[in-house]
Subunit: 115 residues, 2 copies
């Protein structure tokens, strides 16, 4: 039997990989199939270096794989089963939607004030 702690570190790593809005956005896009790094950058309006760093995190945590084709690198989810994880989180959110909405509203107001 393997160390339960090591297993938890693995789980924590996966969560960590997803613990950034940009990386969530990337993974959500990749649900629909593969995208080149450049396309991800364009769609998400990111700095090239920043995007590359986030992709590097996703790669190192084995969340995505890159397929090199000529000049470009096409990324896709390493295992679509990850989508299930995201979907269950989505359901979790839907159950909390009232609370989430209230908080989103608060945030919008705060952000409006900051402008």
């Amino acid at each position: 039997m393997y160390d339960a702690n090591a297993l938890r570190r693995f789980k924590a790593d996966i969560f960590q990989a997803l613990a950034h809005p940009t990386r969530i956005a990337m993974v959500e896009l990749l649900r629909n199939g593969e995208f080149s790094a450049g396309k991800l950058i364009e769609l998400l309006k990111l700095e090239q270096a920043n995007a590359s760093q986030h992709l590097s995190v996703l790669r190192s945590k084995q969340v995505v794989v890159g397929r090199k084709e000529g000049n470009q690198v096409f990324y896709s989810l390493r295992d679509p089963a990850l989508i299930e994880v995201l979907d269950s989180l989505r359901r979790y959110f839907q159950r909390h939607i009232a609370g989430v909405r209230a908080t989103l509203k608060k945030i919008s107001k705060l952000e409006a004030r900051e402008r």
Copy 2:
């Protein structure tokens, strides 16, 4: 329609809450019902302050709620739907179990060497 970015920040926050082995361990224990802070500390062999800080993270991200009873605080999952998220991650891991095992083995060896 609310800001997709704000929603992603929320999701990222939940993942962040779970992005630490100790917090994963706590949540996994709480699957089985509520535990006092002291019991969690005992079962997970944690420093009191450290445990309290991790619980504070889980509280602030709305993952757990504390119920005060006399001297102690009993924690439980705020919404058992979170279990579904953990379960789907578990399935994800099972699918990758071969790769995970190999990596765990590597880690065990490294750790053995470090001792």
